[in-house]
């Protein structure tokens, strides 16, 4: 029989594709359905956030940085405020710290809900997406109640938070975390035993701890590969040392483990929020900060544990009221670099699952 001539072909996946979660372009080289090579092309969402910040005063940077990673805008607010506070050595009031932790953890849950919904949707089950958004909606309501915003909050400010929580917040928040905790158990019942779900996720996109560390992976992706590393514990910030929580770690580093890490993390976050609500002290919500905030000359790098890994801000101040240089670091950038490495030889459907399991968000990559 004559040898059949076959050819590799290239497919542009994105920038407008349902499973690239934003505007990422993946240039796939395919042999049938098998992937030979993946080349991510980034930059479609570049808004020069870092450069814009150089021309704004410190408080004005916060709303811009809201857009840096809009799914967890609280973290963006926080990491920048933390940098400015460390530069100016501001002592943040106790109540503000508690409020910050509550908001950060609620935002982490909201972000993981998006992860859960979109990942499961990318693997073909459409229904859990709406369940996840239903639960996220409760958190959005809490945020709206507090700061009037649902996506870009501008809530955590230099020296504290912008306003106190209303009276109804605490009972509603308790109810929310209780519901979410129950619903996560429901998600686990819905999917974890499903043979199709298992076949699609277990053993797919294995990431070894060595490779993960080599590429600078962080957050849930690193923890799913068996490295117990959480900045909340390993590089403490705020008041996380006062709470009792576990750091969920899984060993296999496949799509299933990355999914499980996040589900468990949501439950741990619920615990932290509950403890923070219990311990919430009375008092000021904001330290005295001059409107024309001028930190002393200096340089600082702050990093926090975001839902997508390490989020950091490198801030250089020249003593004026505008940052001399600001560099924002998001976990997604490193994770997107991992994609070509671990999706070689798998099928298109696996690539979609892996990409979704990394929970890459493009504004964080492109900035």
């Amino acid at each position: 029989m004559a040898e059949l001539r076959t050819e590799e072909f290239q497919v542009n996946m994105g920038p407008h594709h349902p499973s690239t979660h934003g505007v990422c372009r993946l240039l796939l080289t395919l042999d049938g359905e098998k992937i030979i090579k993946v080349e991510p092309y980034i930059g479609y969402l570049h808004r020069a956030i870092e450069k814009i910040c150089e021309n704004r005063t410190y408080p004005m940077c916060i709303p811009i940085l809201d857009r840096f990673e809009y799914v967890t805008a609280m973290s963006c607010n926080y990491v920048f405020s933390l940098a400015a506070e460390r530069l100016a050595e501001i002592e943040v009031p106790e109540r503000a710290e508690y409020l910050r932790v509550i908001m950060l953890e609620l935002n982490r849950i909201a972000s993981h809900m998006i992860f859960f919904g979109t990942t499961v949707m990318d693997i073909g089950a459409l229904t859990p997406f709406l369940y996840a958004l239903r639960e996220r909606e409760m958190i959005m309501d809490l945020f709206e109640m507090t700061c009037g915003q649902r996506l870009t909050y501008n809530y955590i400010r230099i020296g504290g938070v912008s306003r106190d929580i209303p009276k109804e917040f605490i009972p509603k928040c308790r109810e929310t975390i209780k519901t979410i905790d129950e619903k996560i158990e429901e998600y686990k019942r819905l999917l974890n035993g499903n043979p199709i779900w298992k076949a699609r996720t277990i053993g797919i996109g294995k990431l070894s701890p060595e490779l993960a560390i080599a590429y600078g992976a962080s957050g849930p992706i690193l923890r799913a590969s068996g490295v117990e590393y959480d900045l909340r514990r390993d590089d403490p910030y705020s008041i996380y040392d006062r709470f009792d929580y576990k750091i969920p770690t899984y060993q296999n580093g496949d799509v299933y483990d990355r999914y499980m890490v996040r589900l468990d993390e949501m439950q741990e976050s619920c615990k932290i929020v509950a403890q923070a609500l219990d311990g919430l002290p009375e008092g000021d919500i904001r330290a005295k900060v001059k409107p024309n905030f001028k930190p002393p000359e200096g340089e600082v790098y702050t990093r926090i544990e975001n839902s997508r890994g390490e989020m950091g801000v490198h801030l250089i101040s020249d003593g004026t009221n505008k940052p001399f240089r600001l560099k924002a670091r998001g976990g997604s950038f490193a994770h997107l670099q991992l994609l070509p490495e671990i999706s070689k030889g798998c099928l298109i459907a696996d690539l979609v699952a892996i990409f979704a399991s990394f929970d890459v968000i493009l504004p964080e990559v492109d900035r």
């Binding site: 072909f9 497919v11 359905e33 089950a125 459409l126 229904t127 709406l130 499903n194 076949a199 459907a349």
Partner: protein, 352 residues
């Protein structure tokens, strides 16, 4: 009172007003074709609406609510919208193939209804090769999907078309073997004879009549049918998250609507075949004149089951899909067929 068959009744009626010969035949089948076509179009519109409602309620929302009571004419309005839309044509398409693909899909979906017994006597033509004809004609759907994938000259569409061809060809085998078990028991390929053999009580339905084997055959048939109808968990040809829309990516306006309607008619077809073969077809208590109600009730029950699948399960991967068909489903159905043959030989049947 319904006569032995609507076709004969109509023929008599038209004969009595003076038609004869070829003209009579053409008029009879012409009227029937229009009737079946209208019925199915309405059914397809209803199914689209129903699917959206079911999906909505599973997902804790309402689904369409605006047009009429619970949005009952939403799909009609959607259809009108699609009619008015510009038919966007890709410049690099293969003109002939691109044009004929939706038509072929549409025609193949409708043609199966020639031998579909909607009720006692409610059949266009009781062919003695009925079920074989349906299997043959629904296979045209694959060719149309492949044509759509090729004709669009789009890589996603091509991948979708290739996937659908591979999938449907693989799942055709377990489907036909499952059908063979029923044919073996009814000793006929005629749809009417198959239903008539299941008359009487519920244990005469093929699913119960052949103990265990019938149930297994029903399950394997349903699995293959879901794959045949390109629905989740086997909706790979149009896997939105992977191939955007698969084979129909370049189609818009009415051409897209034809694919869309054909998909829902195929859903009805596979469910109706399941009912006819395994669940007693039109058989049920009451006079023959209400037999069609039983047929539709049972069919809608099966469709509801398939809708539940669609909104609950994730999607399989291409290789897993193939593995499932060739390594599990096909051996299982063949073993099942052999057991059915042995049981037939020794007469180990429930009921008559």
């Amino acid at each position: 009172m319904i006569a032995t068959s609507v076709t004969f009744w109509l023929k008599d009626l038209l004969g009595s007003i003076g038609l004869s010969g070829d003209l009579l035949t053409i008029a009879t089948y012409g009227i029937l074709a229009v009737a079946v076509f209208s019925l199915l179009s309405v059914l397809a519109l209803f199914l689209v609406w129903w699917e959206r409602k079911v999906a909505g309620h599973i997902q804790q929302r309402f689904g369409p609510m605006r047009n009429g009571w619970h949005g009952w004419y939403q799909t009609l309005m959607d259809g009108l919208k699609l009619l008015q839309k510009e038919d966007i044509l890709v410049f690099t398409r293969d003109r002939m193939v691109f044009f004929w693909a939706p038509i072929m899909c549409f025609v193949a979906a409708f043609a199966a209804y020639i031998v579909m017994p909607f009720g006692e006597g409610l059949i266009v033509a009781d062919l003695n090769i009925g079920i074989l004809y349906i299997v043959a004609i629904t296979t045209f759907t694959i060719i149309s999907l492949l044509m759509a994938g090729w004709g669009s000259n789009n890589k996603y569409a091509l991948l979708g078309g290739m996937r659908s061809a591979a999938q449907v060809v693989s799942y055709e085998v377990p489907m036909v073997v499952s059908i063979l078990i029923v044919v073996l028991s009814a000793e006929s390929l005629s749809m009417v004879k198959i239903v008539e053999a299941q008359g009487g009580w519920i244990w005469n339905w093929n699913i119960f009549k052949i103990p265990v084997v019938g149930l297994v055959a029903f399950i394997t048939y349903i699995i293959a049918a879901v794959a045949e109808a390109n629905r989740t968990p086997f909706d790979l040809p149009e896997a939105e998250q992977e191939l955007v829309a698969g084979f129909n990516i370049e189609y818009s306006g009415m051409k897209f609507a034809m694919f869309f309607l054909a998909e829902f008619i195929n859903l009805f077809t596979v469910s109706a075949i399941a009912v006819t073969l395994f669940l007693g077809g039109w058989q049920g208590p009451g006079p023959a004149s209400i037999s069609f109600i039983w047929f539709f009730l049972k069919t809608f029950a099966v469709i509801f089951l398939l809708m539940l699948f669609r909104w609950t399960y994730p999607r399989l991967r291409v290789d897993q899909l193939m593995e499932f068909a060739w390594k599990f489903l096909i051996p299982l159905t063949f073993v099942n067929l052999i057991i059915a043959a042995v049981m037939k030989h020794f007469g180990w049947y429930l009921g008559n």
